[in-house]
């Protein structure tokens, strides 16, 4: 009891918080590639957007579309990832699925917020109103609400909140087609001009590059966030090991 305890990293329990099948570190090469693509797209896309042809009726304002639509696509992608991760966590119980679900849920809320901010900005300029219950925007809002609920539950649900969050993510994901159909049919009773005009050729390329850029950005954010959670779990494991040693000695 006189000597200071020798702190070693605990051997991971098979079911402990840091038990994973994957690695915490991404290879340096992947990081470099990710950063390169990200930087290129952040440099390339503004230039491409600036050079893209003006849309006939809406002019400069239409260019917000290059952020709005890819955000929407990324949000739906993220919801899907969160839902699948949630189901995997519910059935397999491995912490890495919970971490993935949490990261994806947060990113769904983030990209959803981007959609919901850029949408009304565009609508205001294009059609004079901030919000007019457009089918796609409304569906996005509902999906966003589901994942905000997911985060609230994780935050305020106390212990066991992760299982709840995973279930909400899964149910939210399965809900997507139902939300989409019901809102669309509801809105087609009050038809209005289409939100996204068919893309002129000059715009199509820019649009897809932007989407690619967003998806790469999303992947980087997702892996980084999940990694942060893993490191937090490792810190807790160390905390536990320290406590055990002090009660043993």
């Amino acid at each position: 009891m006189a000597s200071t305890p020798n702190l070693q990293l605990p051997t991971p329990d098979t079911r402990g918080p840091t038990a994973t099948g994957g690695t915490a570190r991404l290879g340096v090469g992947v990081w470099a590639l990710g950063i390169a693509i990200g930087a290129l797209l952040f440099v390339m896309t503004p230039r491409m957007i600036a050079l893209a042809p003006y849309e006939s009726t809406m002019g400069l304002v239409q260019k917000i579309f290059y952020y709005h639509a890819p955000s929407g696509i990324t949000m739906f992608l993220s919801a899907f990832v969160a839902g699948i991760a949630g189901l995997l966590y519910i059935f397999k119980r491995q912490p890495r699925y919970d971490r993935m679900c949490l990261a994806a849920s947060e990113l769904t809320v983030l990209f959803g917020a981007m959609v919901l901010i850029t949408g009304p900005l565009w609508a205001r300029k294009a059609w004079g109103v901030w919000w007019d219950w457009d089918a796609r925007l409304t569906s996005s809002l509902l999906l966003w609400m589901m994942f905000v609920a997911c985060l609230l539950v994780r935050r305020y649900g106390g212990p066991g909140g992760e299982r709840l969050g995973a279930a909400i993510a899964a149910f939210g994901m399965v809900n997507v087609p139902f939300v989409y159909v019901s809102v669309n049919i509801w809105r087609t009773l009050h038809p209005k001009t289409t939100v996204v005009p068919s893309l002129a050729p000059g715009m199509r390329g820019v649009f897809w590059i932007c989407t690619l850029g967003f998806v790469v950005l999303y992947t980087l954010l997702l892996t980084t966030r999940a990694r942060l959670e893993r490191q937090r779990a490792m810190a807790e494991d160390l905390h536990l090991a320290l406590e055990e040693r002090s009660t043993q000695s």
């Binding site: 519910i90 299982r163 139902f178």
Partner: protein
């Protein structure tokens, strides 16, 4: 299969027996639904006439609110004496607990709606009882969808902090398609002349929502309920 249904039936019957003895949930929920409807009436009735489509919307809002109350109270009862644990300990298939509770809550809510639907029709001069088959199908399938999602999450929340506020937080976004379908279907039935094709579409949507979510809940019930 038989033991599963037997267990579910036993649990549902037990719930209804308890409810019949105490009459607490149905009585308080009916009263709440009526108060709710009156509040809406004060807000939306002008010069004795209502805003178009108000009846449909208000009916389903009242159903959603009442449903949340009933779900919360039913599981609070199970929490009080830890009887939910006793049910989980039983050798029956655990999803049977889900089905049993679902049937019990559904029965209670249908009892409430027997009062609510005519009341809304009366206060807002909406011919809800003119097409009992269609309205009945909408209300039944809509309530079932709401309860299917609600029963799972209310059960999960039993051991959670802040469960009273988290149940609506979780339930309302997830059951939006049910509310949309219910409201639009009711509007279609109340239109003059009634848009039967539209009503049938919404009934179909509700039926598929119910099927998908009940299956999903059955599939996930046991893993989410075991810690």
């Amino acid at each position: 299969m038989r033991p599963f249904l037997t267990a579910a039936w036993l649990i549902a019957r037990k719930d209804l027996t308890v409810e019949v003895r105490s009459r607490e949930i149905v009585a308080t929920t009916v009263f709440f639904a009526v108060s709710c409807t009156l509040v809406f009436a004060f807000s939306l009735v002008q010069e004795g006439r209502t805003v178009v489509d108000a009846a449909a919307g208000l009916l389903w809002i009242a159903i959603a609110f009442s449903g949340t109350l009933a779900l919360g109270r039913t599981f609070e009862r199970e929490r009080f004496n830890d009887t939910l644990r006793a049910l989980m300990l039983a050798p029956s298939d655990r999803p049977a607990i889900y089905v049993g509770k679902l049937l019990g809550i559904l029965a209670m809510l249908l009892a409430v709606e027997l009062v609510l639907v005519p009341l809304v029709g009366l206060l807002f001069q909406a011919p809800l009882l003119a097409h009992p088959g269609l309205i009945g199908a909408l209300v039944l399938l809509g309530t079932l969808g709401f309860c299917a999602v609600g029963t799972l999450f209310a059960a999960m929340l039993v051991r959670t902090r802040s469960r009273d506020v988290l149940l609506p937080v979780v339930l309302y976004p997830l059951t939006i398609p049910v509310i949309i379908a219910g409201v639009r279907g009711t509007v279609a039935v109340l239109a003059s002349p009634p848009d039967l094709a539209m009503a049938q579409f919404w009934i179909g949507l509700l039926a598929s929502f119910d099927a998908v979510f009940i299956l999903l809940a059955l599939w996930t019930f046991e893993p989410v309920m075991t810690e």
